[in-house]
């Protein structure tokens, strides 16, 4: 019987020749990632209660990204717990205040094709862009993983999203995702495996593929997989993981349980209105909506590629009077590359305010957008009350569309600026 990539990854992790959708199996975990909020402050007291130890500290990665930089007593306390615990446990892989976990962890070569990984954060499916079975878990489930090295999964069905053609200029992976979420809804993935494939997906650079897998969370999928290829291998080789094997990690023909086709060439930039990513529609339906702030940030929308998109729109121009353009690069590596190539200067010359490389207002764990504001954002979620008070209205879009809207002071189609 034909096996999907998801089934092959799970079969390897549970030590079986083959597995079938619907089966419940126990998998050995290759990597457990968590951050300052979901990790030490929750795990440490529970580990003490159990009198248990970490099963394999080499397979654990800790990233401080949610409560950094520390702006309150509570934040200082939470981050201090993480730092003290990392020292006490002698964790070999700790990334403190250098960016967001879903970007920093792959940038250090930790996530490779064929691996089975869990993350203490809902955007953990980002790892699927590297051909790894990676999904999010809560802290108690993470406790189970770090003490036993194991976790149960129900082998998912595979929902294949096949994108033919090529994206036109000004249209991105973010627009592809918003279009799919708009069509299938926030739980359309039904905790199954979504697989992104087709010419348009293969043509995407690694950062854009990561955006697809990242927002699988908003599609309600457990994982968002992309078959690894030369793009994956070359990117990993440049990020500390040379020579990865890609050949075994593909889906057999006819292994999908469901397949949906999309045309990349006719896709328009998408905008999701408050208060759900599923409220996605082509940008022309929202053109003219007045905004007070534009935010380029998060693991979803502030990688180097996103900063370049914004710069293409903003070069030689300035944001509209009274509009704040906030840019929080996803990691220091993205920020530094943007400095070297001049991208960041373009953004700052256009009036962008640079914020720290952390989860920031996207997580809503401290920093917040202002009440009653309308904001366009390159982040993943626009739930009521998430990024600000319940009166803050957040529209989601690509970095291109966010930048074009910042110039106009109202939601705008980036293709008009790029033309």
């Amino acid at each position: 019987m034909a096996m999907s990539l998801a089934a092959k990854l799970i079969a390897r992790a549970c030590g079986r020749e083959r597995v079938t959708p619907g089966e419940i199996v126990t998998c050995r975990v290759d990597l457990a990632m968590f951050h300052d909020s979901s990790g030490p402050r929750r795990l440490q007291p529970m580990l003490e209660q159990l009198g248990a130890r970490i099963w394999d500290r080499n397979k654990v990665v800790l990233v401080m990204d949610h409560y950094v930089p520390e702006r309150s007593e509570d934040a200082r306390r939470i981050v201090r717990i993480a730092r003290d615990w990392a020292r006490e446990q002698q964790l070999p892989h700790v990334y403190d205040s250098i960016g967001i976990c879903h970007v920093v962890v792959p940038q250090h070569g930790h996530i490779r094709p064929g691996m089975f990984c869990v993350g203490g954060d809902s955007h953990s499916p980002t790892g699927g862009a590297f051909g790894s079975y990676m999904f999010g878990v809560g802290s108690t489930e993470m406790l189970g993983v770090v003490t036993t090295g194991e976790i149960w999964v129900q082998v998912p069905r595979t929902i294949r999203m096949r994108w033919r053609g090529r994206l036109s200029r000004g249209v991105t992976a973010k627009d592809m995702m918003l279009a799919m979420i708009g069509r299938f809804g926030m739980n359309g993935g039904a905790w199954q495996a979504v697989e992104f494939t087709g010419e348009a997906v293969r043509a995407l650079p690694m950062h854009e593929r990561m955006t697809l897998s990242n927002m699988s969370a908003e599609l309600g999928a457990q994982v968002g997989l992309i078959e690894p290829d030369e793009v994956t291998r070359d990117w990993l080789a440049a990020h500390g993981a040379p020579g990865v094997e890609i050949a075994p990690w593909h889906s057999d023909p006819d292994s999908a349980d469901e397949e949906h086709g999309f045309d990349a060439a006719t896709l328009m930039p998408q905008v999701a209105a408050p208060f759900s990513p599923a409220n996605a529609a082509p940008v022309n339906q929202h053109v003219g909506t007045v905004i007070q702030a534009a935010y380029i940030g998060a693991c979803t929308g502030a990688k180097l590629e996103d900063l370049r998109f914004a710069a293409q729109v903003l070069r030689g121009r300035h944001v509209a009077p009274g509009v704040r353009l906030l840019v929080a690069p996803a990691s220091h590596a993205d920020r530094d590359a943007a400095i070297v190539e001049g991208t960041l200067q373009v953004l700052q010359d256009a009036g962008a305010q640079l914020l720290p490389s952390a989860c920031g207002v996207c997580a809503g764990y401290g920093d917040s957008l202002a009440a009653d504001e309308t904001v366009i954002s390159s982040t993943a979620r626009n739930f009521k009350g998430r990024m600000g008070p319940p009166s803050t209205r957040v529209y989601l879009a690509s970095a291109y569309t966010v930048a074009a809207s910042a110039l106009a002071g109202r939601i705008a189609d980036p293709r008009e600026v790029l033309a």
Binding site: S38, L50, A52, S122, G138, M186, N187, G220, G385
Partner: protein, 165 residues
């Protein structure tokens, strides 16, 4: 007849950020629970009583991995959440925290304040008028997790057995 439970009726797509608001996430569960659902139903946290149940629309628990979303409901004494569908990550978190979820396609007929009963093992929800709504079966290992009070007590037992002579 199993115990009777008073219903709090919520709509579709109740998200984790509504259950456990980010602005309170730096605090312990007692504080977070006081703000549970305040953006949607400000009367919920002050008014809910132990043994009450939530009956919601589809896709309950979409959003974040924060398990405080499930823990807050447990903290407030919610006996079960009944909905036509749940977000997968919330589903796992709820059982890990000892919060029972019943996937019940017909539950949207149930009204606010109604008194209902449920039987998780048998997979049914019984309305005040005796109408029985089927709920999807729950794998036995998850029912055991609920009976144990969640994953943490189960792990405790496992490690006690391992360390005892």
């Amino acid at each position: 007849m199993k115990a009777a439970h008073r219903v709090w009726r919520l709509g579709a797509e109740v998200d984790t950020d509504a259950l456990a608001p980010g602005a309170w996430m730096q605090h312990g569960i007692e504080v977070i629970a006081r703000h549970c659902l305040e953006a949607l139903r400000p009367d919920f946290a002050p008014g809910v009583r132990p043994g009450d149940v939530i009956v919601a629309g589809p896709d309950f628990g979409i959003g974040s991995s924060r398990e405080q979303a499930a823990a807050a409901l447990r903290q407030l004494g919610v006996a079960a959440v009944i909905a036509p569908s749940f977000a997968g990550l919330f589903f796992r978190n709820a059982f890990n925290l000892g919060l029972l979820l019943l996937t019940c396609p017909g539950c949207e007929r149930i009204g606010e304040g109604e008194i209902i009963a449920f039987d998780a093992r048998a997979g049914r929800v019984t309305r005040a008028d005796g109408d029985v709504l089927p709920a999807e079966p729950i794998p036995p290992f998850l029912l055991e997790m609920i009976e144990a009070g969640g994953l943490l007590p189960q792990l405790k037992r496992r490690f006690e057995q391992r360390t005892s002579p």
